[in-house]
């Protein structure tokens, strides 16, 4: 039997996603498929992950005093100290265009990965720029069942209208734009994400049983489609041939999902029932799902908003009963700045668990972390004044030998974030000279 490996048109996935944007009852199992992997030591698969935190950081506790390799680890970054050689600190970046829209919150996250400018509107005619995660997904993600994962923690998709002064709520919901006018909704429910990856059923045994049922149905359906085809005219025959081809394709996928469910090497988390109670569990689960998705090659690109701009979450369990947005407007009062800093540090601590898992997960001859490019940071710097200049981010992972960590690169004042996005695209194999308001390319070698 010739296995025809079909390249799925992107839009069939988007339609599948459209049905899962809201937490549904029994959800669609978008049964993914492993493609023929050429995972040899010589050719590992590139992954990209982008992780965002809102409201900026206390910059002088984040950015080291000195540049180069000998910098002293700062308090906020202490939790990832042991990963020192696996990331580069980049400072003095700027989202130059972000301050032009609304109060500056929505545009922070909306332009972080595009260096574009958001259109001032409260209506449906939102416009920003295509983000680099989507550009990368188009290049390396078309073979995977899910070209890219967009994840979030808070959901404001129920708000249409004015959210951030003159900016539409649509800008706050996601950091991923597949075209300048198409924001991609972020999924906040790990159950939805899980079912998309592994199929329907609360235990591996149940899922297996359901997959068996699916297989026997497909088999029989194929038989009756063939019978049907015999009596049809030429034109109609072609449509049924199409149908038969597609049946074969999902039979193949089901076989792969079966394999994935029984693969001893994969540590599939238990199927989540719903959104976890605590913030820490929710974030942890989303990180875990990204790791498994990379490991099983279900996707190679993910964006994750650990928290969105303009949220008022409190963190009493780390000693911050004040609301995040409010405390980010600390008015330079030292005790308040210290509280804001606690949140910054806590987020880095959660991030360190992701790095640990990525490091510990084998991938070919190395680890997932070796073969990934991971960006972490915020679109704001000094959150008190909604400043997007300067901002600082961490570029981590190995990116298959392309990222040399353990350094602090300080850029000339006002360097566009776009100047970092371009070399990041290059690492993924995309040559481009300009993005958004970029003025050049930061040298990362």
């Amino acid at each position: 039997m010739i296995v025809t490996k079909k390249h799925l048109p992107r839009r069939t996935f988007l339609r599948g996603l459209a049905g899962t944007a809201v937490a549904l009852p029994l959800l669609d199992s978008m049964i993914p498929a492993l493609t023929a992997q050429t995972k040899t030591a010589a050719k590992p698969q590139f992954r990209a992950a982008f992780i965002y935190t809102p409201h900026g950081v206390i910059l002088d506790q984040w950015v080291p005093k000195t540049t180069g390799t000998d910098y002293e680890m700062t308090p906020i970054l202490k939790p990832i100290e042991s990963f020192r050689n696996r990331f580069i600190i980049l400072s003095n970046l700027a989202e130059n265009k972000a301050k032009q829209a609304g109060s500056g919150h929505a545009s922070s996250s909306a332009t972080w990965l595009s260096a574009a400018v958001t259109k001032d509107t409260q209506g449906e005619d939102v416009q920003a720029g295509t983000t680099i995660d989507q550009m990368i997904a188009r290049k390396i993600g078309q073979d995977t069942p899910i070209p890219s994962l967009e994840l979030g923690i808070e959901d404001v998709s129920n708000m249409i209208g004015i959210c951030d002064a003159t900016s539409s709520c649509a800008y706050l919901n996601t950091m991923s734009w597949s075209t300048p006018t198409t924001p991609l909704p972020a999924e906040i429910n790990p159950k939805v994400v899980f079912e998309r990856m592994f199929g329907d059923g609360s235990s591996a045994a149940k899922r297996f049983e359901r997959l068996q049922d699916d297989r026997s149905l497909l088999d029989d359906i194929t038989g009756s489609a063939r019978d049907l085809q015999k009596n049809l005219s030429a034109q109609d025959k072609t449509r049924i041939t199409d149908y038969l081809d597609n049946l074969r394709e999902i039979e193949r996928r089901i076989a792969q999902v079966e394999k994935r469910n029984t693969d001893q090497q994969l540590s599939v988390p238990n199927a989540p029932i719903d959104i976890p109670e605590t913030y820490e569990d929710h974030v942890g689960l989303m990180f875990d799902l990204q790791v498994v998705a990379f490991q099983a090659d279900i996707t190679r690109v993910s964006t994750f908003m650990m928290s969105r701009e303009l949220n008022n979450r409190t963190y009493p369990y780390i000693g911050v009963p004040e609301q995040h947005h409010s405390i980010s407007h600390h008015q330079y009062d030292p005790p308040k700045m210290a509280q804001h800093q606690k949140i910054n540090t806590y987020h880095v601590q959660l991030y360190s668990k992701f790095l640990t898992k990525m490091q510990e997960t084998k991938d070919g001859d190395g680890s997932l972390l070796d073969h990934s490019m991971v960006l972490y940071g915020s679109g704001m710097g000094d959150g008190n004044v909604h400043s997007h200049d300067p901002i600082s981010v961490l570029l981590g992972g190995g990116a298959i030998g392309q990222i040399k960590g353990g350094r602090h690169i300080q850029n000339p004042k006002g360097t566009s974030m776009g100047n970092l996005l371009l070399p990041m695209l290059e690492m993924a194999g995309i040559q481009q000279d300009k993005i958004g308001d970029s003025t050049g390319k930061i040298s990362l070698s």
Partner: protein
């Protein structure tokens, strides 16, 4: 072809029309200046045509007829013959073409046709008596010419097949009441721009806001309800400053009353809005036992007093316009229903009653009972009698399920096979073997029954229709007509309104329209729903009262509820049920005065005369404009531009002759409606500029305002009626119309004109047409040049 030629010559004598030389002279004088062999303007060459073989050039001549009847050719500004001459030429051409069609009917051929998702859901409802939400289960379908039931667009993809598989599992689990259904979590959300300071349809009288939905509870058991209140962008719950009571009802009976808000709440909430919200929401969660089956769940807020109002704070109709606002009424953000917890049995649901028409003695007569159940369901689902091979397949799956978990599991598995297979999902019409290729043949009675029920009801045939067809009685024209009338008066004929009319008039576009809240702050979901309902009710009245289709243009009545009445400025209408009102303002009569159409042909911040012109050309006149050239810059939206009237801003359309060819057709139509703003309200000024709604139409007629436009359309009402008929015929047979269908369309109209173009006459004409009752057998040879060409031609819609 020679035979046809002889008939033609005879026919011209028969009709006493002008002999060919006069027609040639007319065309040569007025048309071939542009449409010459050399210039071939718009790809049309009318020079040196053979007028004795018009039918052989039908494609070109049908284009000519269309343009002549619409009055679009010759274009204004160039020499034109009088209307009488134009009509004479068009009539002569039509008669010639129609005569040829009588001897060589071409009913066309719709290819194998899969169910779209609306039809899928309706079919599940009719077979299993289970309501399902098609948009949850299946991806959206592609459409052509605005309709989502066109066979060649209903393609197959891996994503779709996966969904059929998973949908069949979910549907059957619910239908049977499978104990293994697990915990199902459903989230229901009112649209964020729904104003909740008023009664919402479906909720108990005496309450405000919230929502009412039908939720399916899969098993008898305990269910959890989690209502959540709307919060501002910073996490503050709306409306906390007063004490409120949220009522939850099932099938109209109160199951819970939850109190919240007041001074207590607000004091705690202000310093820690998100934490307080989480705490409050945790208190609103509750669990109660519920019986399996569909139940109406309503969540709304008790109206405390008639004086209760937040109008002092609320300047606009729309209550939740500003995500930073926290004052005013509480709003329901969503309600999450999960369960069953601690289930105890499938209960007694409508679906189970439909499925289990027999109950076997365990271990004794299970197989015969299974056979009975599955063959009944399959017959309905497959739209044909079930044969031995079908039963063999179904019983294999029955056994599989039976071996795993008993009789009911077996039935579940069997049903799953029924609804996931090609027999259910495809509408198959088989060419008879004894018919020559490229010859038309009558389709079978069962195939006719299917076409009829999908046309009028968007679902599978019912028992009555099926039995008549199975007995071969549907061929009888009297029986057929009786069935059509019966089906039209059945509630399922609402599908003609919600599927045909809503797509023809593009009403579904309103769902995605969000007029800019800065410019139209009063526009809310309540209005959006009401606008759609108004137009649907208008169309429905034409069907139910069997009115002339032309009444759609002239109707001196419409349907409003309180919200819509307020929008139009009609006084004295209270309550959210719709009622008929007389229209006193001449400008408002008919489709052109419907807020729905006026809104969906606007853009977020303003009207779009071009969009309105285009909409009328496509949907009412059947003459769509060609697509715009690439790289047309957007209209300037700066303040200088906004100070001008829309007309002035679009002068460049007229000034540039390259643009003018199309825009002098579209723009004047749109300008005549400029008194209606971007959400359909009457206005005399656009900003500071006074509105001038007069213009010159493409045939030279001077038109002033909406009334003038309506009269312009009425002067060519046959064009309007033909356009609607073409679209209805396309909807009925599931393929675009082309020039070969025009003789049949004209025949339908000739007959219907004797009855003042009443809707039922047009409908009957369609059902009696060769298009509906026959099919062209295809040439056997795959991809032969001529066969491929005819396929492509069939796919390309007129123009």
């Amino acid at each position: 072809m020679r035979l046809a030629g002889t008939l033609l010559l005879a026919a011209t004598g028969l009709f006493g029309q002008t002999a060919p030389p006069a027609q040639t002279a007319l065309v040569n004088q007025y048309c071939i200046t542009c449409h010459s062999e050399k210039l071939k303007t718009a790809g049309v060459d009318l020079e040196n045509r053979d007028y004795s073989h018009v039918a052989e050039d039908a494609e070109v001549w049908e284009k000519v007829v269309r343009k002549l009847r619409a009055g679009e050719m010759p274009p204004v500004g160039l020499p034109r013959p009088g209307k009488a001459s134009i009509d004479k030429l068009a009539t002569w051409l039509e008669n010639t073409l129609d005569t040829s069609a009588v001897t060589n009917p071409n009913p066309g051929r719709t290819m194998i046709h899969r169910l779209n998702r609306t039809e899928y859901a309706n079919a599940i409802k009719d077979v299993l008596n289970l309501d399902v939400d098609a948009s949850e289960l299946l991806p959206p379908d592609d459409s052509a010419d605005g309709f989502d039931n066109i066979a060649q667009m209903l393609t197959i993809s891996p994503a779709l097949l996966e969904r059929y598989l998973s949908a069949s599992a979910k549907v059957t689990r619910f239908a049977i009441g499978d104990p293994d259904v697990g915990v199902v979590v459903s989230t229901y959300r009112p649209r964020p721009d729904l104003s909740q300071d008023t009664h919402i349809e479906g909720t108990p009288v005496g309450t405000l806001g919230g929502m009412a939905v039908t939720h399916y509870f899969p098993l008898d058991g305990e269910y959890q309800f989690e209502p959540r209140l709307s919060q501002s962008i910073l996490g503050m719950i709306h409306g906390l400053e007063d004490r409120h009571a949220m009522e939850i009802t099932l099938d109209g009976v109160r199951v819970k009353l939850l109190n919240f808000g007041g001074n207590d709440g607000i004091v705690k909430a202000i310093p820690e809005s998100m934490a307080y919200a989480n705490q409050l929401h945790a208190q609103l969660v509750f669990r109660i036992p519920v019986k399996a089956g569909p139940h109406t769940l309503a969540v709304s807020f008790l109206r405390q007093s008639s004086a209760q109002t937040a109008e002092i704070w609320q300047q606009y109709q729309r209550t939740a316009i500003d995500a930073n606002e926290t004052k005013g009424f509480p709003h329901l953000d969503k309600v999450i229903v999960s369960g069953p917890f601690d289930p105890h049995g499938p209960g007694d649901t409508p679906a189970r009653r439909r499925i289990f028409t027999c109950r076997p003695v365990p271990g004794k007569d299970e197989l015969p009972c299974a056979r009975t159940i599955l063959s009944n369901l399959a017959r309905r689902a497959y739209r044909r009698p079930v044969n031995d091979k079908d039963m063999e397949r179904l019983l294999t799956f029955y056994q599989r399920g039976r071996n795993k978990g008993g009789f009911e599991q077996g039935i579940e598995m069997g049903i799953r096979r029924i609804i996931s297979g090609p027999e259910f999902v495809f509408r198959v019409e088989n060419d008879p073997a004894n018919v020559a290729p490229n010859t038309p043949y009558r389709i079978s009675d069962l195939e006719l029954a299917s076409r009829l029920s999908f046309f009028l009801w968007s679902t599978v045939p019912d028992e009555t229709l099926f039995n008549l067809a199975a007995q071969g009685k549907l061929k009888d024209p009297t029986v057929l007509e009786q069935q059509v009338r019966r089906m039209l008066s059945d509630p399922k004929a609402d599908a003609l309104v919600t599927n045909f009319a809503a797509q023809w008039l593009q009403l579904r576009n309103l769902r995605g329209m969000v007029p800019d809240p800065d410019v139209f702050p009063d526009f809310d979901e309540n209005l959006r729903l009401a606008l759609v309902k108004e137009t649907e009710l208008l169309f429905d009245s034409v069907i139910k009262e069997d009115r002339s289709v032309a009444d759609l243009l002239t109707a001196n009545y419409t349907f409003v509820n309180e919200r819509l009445a307020r929008h139009y400025g009609i006084r004295g209408i209270y309550g959210d049920q719709f009622r008929r009102v007389a229209i006193t303002d001449d400008a408002r009569k008919g489709l052109l005065g419907q807020g729905s159409i006026l809104t969906l042909t606007s853009v977020g911040t303003r009207t779009s005369p071009v969009a309105r012109g285009k909409w009328i050309l496509i949907n009412l006149l059947g003459t769509p404009p060609p697509p715009p050239p690439p790289n047309v810059p957007a209209l300037k939206e700066d303040s200088a531009a906004k100070a001008q009237s829309m007309r002035d801003r679009m002068t460049v359309h007229r000034a540039n002759p390259f643009c003018a060819t199309c825009h002098k057709v579209m723009d004047p139509i749109g300008f005549s409606l400029e008194n209606y703003d971007g959400v359909g309200r009457w206005r005399l000024k656009d900003g500071d500029a006074k509105i001038d709604a007069s213009d010159t139409m493409f045939d030279g007629t001077k038109v002033d305002g909406a009334v003038g436009l309506r009269n312009f359309l009425l002067a060519r009402r046959e064009v309007f009626i033909q356009t609607m008929t073409e679209k209805l015929l396309m909807y009925a047979v599931g393929r675009p119309m082309d020039y070969r269908d025009m003789p049949a369309v004209r025949k339908i109209l000739r007959e219907a004109s004797k009855n003042d173009y009443k809707f039922s006459s047009i409908l009957m004409g369609i059902v009696q047409s060769p298009q509906f009752q026959m099919r062209m057998k295809q040439a056997d040879v795959v991809q032969s040049a001529s066969a491929k060409q005819s396929l492509d031609q069939m796919r390309r819609p007129e123009q």
